[in-house]
């Protein structure tokens, strides 16, 4: 039996599973409350609309994200180095090659999106191309390809569905309260629903951030094992994290909606940072990479 240098991490698995379970339980609770409060014929319609939006976001994620970042797809002739790197990483990981895009912005970042590994796109900014060495860039690309292989866009979409439905209901409740229906029973039902959906939204928000951070660590880990160079990814992360502060504030806000898919977050959380951040701290990521570095270098 061949040795493997890929050490299992049961703690991570337990946490991931707990998060997924709690999200599912929340969703069920939300639907149950709705069925109780609303006349039965409304509940399915509301659910279907919310999930339809989530599904649409997921289905069109590649083209929407490309357009939002003003990225354009590049051919192997235009960017032979970048394509060569991704070709080799995909051959090592045995995965279909995603499309490759370049976004013309000074902000050093990279993201991967798309509805499935067969239809996904990896985008790097010109800022990251200029700032990183070839080795570091490869580490970043391996991280993004791991997101593709882990189907993170799909998982995050499913996980955020509860939040989407809840936030829509919150809005619906607000409009309903502003409207003319003033009988007592209706107002009480609206209030209950408003509170319930707000609570659901708040809890799913925190859980979603938690899930996002663990998936970032998973992608770091798989990426480092793919390139076998955890150091390159570590130094890339340090460079990018340093570079994020130098970027003008306006650019940062403009790209806020894409934050969940970036390799390093473009927006800094002010308070509750550890709870609501989509990405783990740089220290956590570097600690994990240092452990992988030790595993790979160990002599038997």
């Amino acid at each position: 039996m061949a040795r493997t240098r890929f050490i299992g991490d049961s703690g991570l698995t337990v946490r991931m599973t707990t998060v997924m379970f709690l999200l599912g339980a929340l969703f069920v609770a939300l639907i149950a409350v709705l069925m109780y409060v609303f006349p039965p014929q409304y509940a399915p319609i509301i659910g279907v609309i919310g999930l339809g939006i989530a599904w649409f976001q997921w289905w069109t994620s590649d083209s929407v994200a490309m357009r939002a970042m003003r990225a354009r797809e590049v051919t192997p002739e235009e960017a032979p180095e970048l394509h060569g790197m991704i070709d080799r990483l995909c051959a090592m990981a045995d995965m279909p090659k995603p499309r490759v895009g370049v976004a013309d912005t000074a902000m050093p970042n990279a993201f991967a999106t798309g509805r499935s590994p067969k239809r996904s796109v990896v985008v790097v900014t010109t800022g990251i191309l200029g700032r990183l060495t070839a080795e570091e860039l490869e580490g970043v690309l391996a991280h993004e390809l791991s997101h593709v292989a882990h189907r993170d866009v799909l998982v995050m979409t499913v996980a955020s569905s509860a939040g989407i439905v809840a936030s829509m209901l919150t809005r619906g409740a607000q409009f309903g309260a502003l409207g003319g229906r003033r009988n007592n029973g209706g107002a009480a039902a609206m209030l209950v629903m408003l509170v319930v959906s707000l609570v659901v939204y708040a809890v799913s928000f925190v859980l979603l951030r938690l899930l996002s951070r663990y998936r970032e660590l998973s992608a770091d880990r798989a990426g480092a094992h793919l390139t076998m160079r955890p150091r390159a990814l570590a130094s890339a992360l340090q460079k990018i994290a340093g570079g994020m502060d130098q970027v003008p504030q306006r650019d940062l806000r403009a790209s806020q909606s894409l934050n969940a898919f970036f390799i390093a977050p473009a927006v800094r959380g002010l308070s509750l940072r550890t709870l609501t951040s989509t990405h783990p701290t740089l220290e956590q990521r570097l600690e994990q990479l240092a452990r992988i570095d030790a595993e790979l270098g160990r002599q038997y």
């Binding site: 051959a91 070839a134 882990h150 160079r229």
Partner: protein
């Protein structure tokens, strides 16, 4: 990846598949009789060297092992522009009347099993056996470990980064049925500047 892997975000590094390499000597004879391509007798393995003392000592042992065998080949390593290591096994040129690639394939297989046994199987990218024709055309028979398939790669001599697609298709057609050829041409990774091409 299965459902469980997707939910937990865990992927296991893909391990290499090595056995198909032993079918290469027969394929070499087919290429010589069918297309007039003769093996140069060399071969190379492309892998990603891990950082740290573990890999360094494995590689040193490997070079020592290959150098000690009977009729030992000259073994060299070099780095390419993408950060991969090419380990070149340089045998004496084969006799066109009696082409025998089995020694070469045994060496290539030894490289791969050694790396795999030490836990570096996921770092293997490909193996390459170059062939050449009388009119100077060159084609490499590339083995992709993770897919377990072969594909031809034929750069046009002196043509910059251009591939001789016709020759590649001829090689594929000649070897289909004999070797597991890669049917998805998007996986036919160009390896420009590979040793022996």
């Amino acid at each position: 990846m299965g459902f469980w892997d997707v939910v937990t975000g865990r992927s296991k590094p893909k391990q290499a598949r090595l056995d198909a390499l032993f079918a290469v000597p027969d394929a070499g004879i087919t290429l010589q009789t069918g297309l007039g391509l003769t093996a140069t007798g060399d071969g190379s393995v492309c892998y990603r060297a891990a950082a740290g003392p573990g890999f360094a000592s494995t590689e040193a042992e490997l070079l020592d092992l290959l150098g000690r065998s009977e009729g030992a080949p000259r073994v060299t390593t070099s780095q390419d522009g993408f950060g991969f290591t090419w380990l070149v096994v340089d045998h004496d040129p084969v006799d066109p009347a009696q082409p025998d690639l089995s020694g070469l394939c045994t060496d290539l297989h030894a490289v791969n099993t050694t790396l795999e046994a030490q836990g570096y199987g996921p770092g293997l990218l490909c193996s390459l056996v170059p062939f050449t024709s009388a009119d100077g055309r060159r084609v490499g028979l590339v083995y992709l470990y993770k897919q377990g398939t072969f594909y031809p790669f034929a750069p046009i001599p002196g043509g910059g980064q251009q591939r001789d697609s016709l020759l590649e298709i001829q090689v594929r057609d000649a070897l289909t049925g004999e070797l597991p050829m890669e049917t998805d041409t998007s996986r036919w990774l160009p390896v420009w500047g590979a040793p022996g091409l």
